[in-house]
Symmetry: C2
Subunit: 387 residues, 2 copies
Amino acid sequence: MAIKGFKAAAVAANLRYKDRPDLGLIVSDGPAAWAGVFTQSVCQAAPVIWSRPLANKGRGRAILANSGQANAQTGREGDANCLRSAELIGAALGCPPEEIMLASTGIIGQQVNMPALAEAVPGLAAALSPGGLDDFARAIMTTDTFAKTAASECACDGGTVSVWGCAKGSGMIAPNMATMLGFVLTDANIAPELLRGIIREGADMSFNRVTVDGDTSTNDCLMLMASGAALVTGGPALEAFKTAVFTVMRNLARQIAKDGEGATKLVTVRLRGAASPEEALLAARTVAESPLVKTAFFGGDANWGRVFMALGRSGARFDPYAVNMDLDDVPWVRNGIDNGREEAASAVMQKTEYVLDINLNAGTSGCEMLTCDFSHEYVSINGDYRS
Amino acid sequence: MAIKGFKAAAVAANLRYKDRPDLGLIVSDGPAAWAGVFTQSVCQAAPVIWSRPLANKGRGRAILANSGQANAQTGREGDANCLRSAELIGAALGCPPEEIMLASTGIIGQQVNMPALAEAVPGLAAALSPGGLDDFARAIMTTDTFAKTAASECACDGGTVSVWGCAKGSGMIAPNMATMLGFVLTDANIAPELLRGIIREGADMSFNRVTVDGDTSTNDCLMLMASGAALVTGGPALEAFKTAVFTVMRNLARQIAKDGEGATKLVTVRLRGAASPEEALLAARTVAESPLVKTAFFGGDANWGRVFMALGRSGARFDPYAVNMDLDDVPWVRNGIDNGREEAASAVMQKTEYVLDINLNAGTSGCEMLTCDFSHEYVSINGDYRS
């Protein structure tokens, strides 16, 4: 897969992992429009602090991503290492460090292995090629069980615009690993201001709707770059372009949810009929993150009482006896009480993917969350005795 | 254990469980002052809806509690069953139903087994005795592994005032089981308005500080009754009395946390130095409820990165590099970075009880939460395939 105007590459720098790609680079041939959204955590990683103002400038040349060390809680040395990394890449590419965004995923509290990184930069730059996008996608993996990529395209005045994206992450996946990184590239010719709006709207309805365990990391980020190489004009194509970008983002988000640690099921919590958008989000998220609901998903237990318990404490306002719930096409709960379809409901819950549709009948706002079940493996992965 | 002015009893009514006490009654000899705090869930159980206005009246005679059915999401029939239960007890005691509060714990969505309850009432009333408090404590158990009681006393003008309490619950403990019930009795002679303030403050610093899995139920309640039989006057004794009540409540809350499903460790998250009381609570609760922190507790993994991750998303404001963390007396993190005491920190985390002290150094507000670890057993208990 290639996107006009971009080259990419990845190498095994052995920053922490041995003999697997852990350093990736995306470069646009010329200045690209870009935008980024980043974790809201108070404890932002150094690469987030480095990249955020650069994203806001609206234009840049390259993204360097590493796995192994998150460069979070690393103090002044961590910040200095960001500058040094950007300077090294900038020297290799012939551009200023401020045209390079950084993303990291790995252990919190440990410094980036700078000697190894510096040694790997020349080989990384030399390996850049239009076909290197999938290599980049692999370099950002930590304990993801598969590389997550997605692509889409749309017709615009004058031709076709392509969109490609990759992402990593699910729950914080092993001691000190950071979470969600997403990178979306396009050859569209589009202004940075428009990209900013698109990335926010897209993040909100995709990555921000995925919850594995409710925990967000110090390093989460989503970056969107547009090379302009498709040489098409804007206009009526904007909606088509947004659709293509959102399709890619939602696809990646779904893959992240599916790869949730120890997850055996992917559940869409479709919350409808809330009194306000805020309440729709609260209700959907509370259900999707409730440990008791998620263990019920794991056990395939058609236990609607737990869903009510989560809704009841979510902050959403509704009449408990107006609530309807469906599992796929099975009418599970009607008017707040059991609808006598427990066998059919249980059958749905044995599937690896299904929709839990909840209608609060308190308004017209809705929200969808993707979540997965809480299994023994989640506890094993995260409760490991090794430090 | 007995409290002057009260009698209690419990019987095996076989509402759902067989051959174990599941129906309990507390009766004051004369009108008692009382207060109650109840779940804020939008999906309030019928006994909560019944009891709340009665608690607000400030005076009553009796509390009837059952285990087996929560009488939640039971519609009009559930409400009617509350009235009927209170009428049955009222007839046996010779008092109006409005002088009887109700509490239930059990399966959500199933009606209370009224024939069995009605049959058990005469025997229950006949069994009332001053020594029946511990029987009552056992009747409210569901999958609690031990009956939870606590007692205290204080000196007042004219004599001694005694306080006794019992509670049940931990995480929502098996499919459809409700959570936290607490009952505190005293022979103090005290006005209802004072009891109201005491119960709110007490609940806030005890039961509301316990989190097993962040899930609160449809049935949570705490009731406080004062018989006045100690015949002591108020005045300078009020603070001593509050201390005695809070001691009992904190003791019960601690027992609840300790009995958390599958829990192997009891951890106090002591959050200090927050910029406001709200932020102190947010920070403490977010850390105490984070699945990744709790699995780290389970694994004994001295992983401070996860604590930062939770703090970072809590909503509290602070400088990440001003934060100090201690595990018991081990200085674990200083100024946001590792303090080189990993071995000693890990040793603390192997203990079954310890304190995680976090100082945000952003203000003067603090908050303590009691929590426990997330273990495989939690998933087993709650993810069981049986419906």
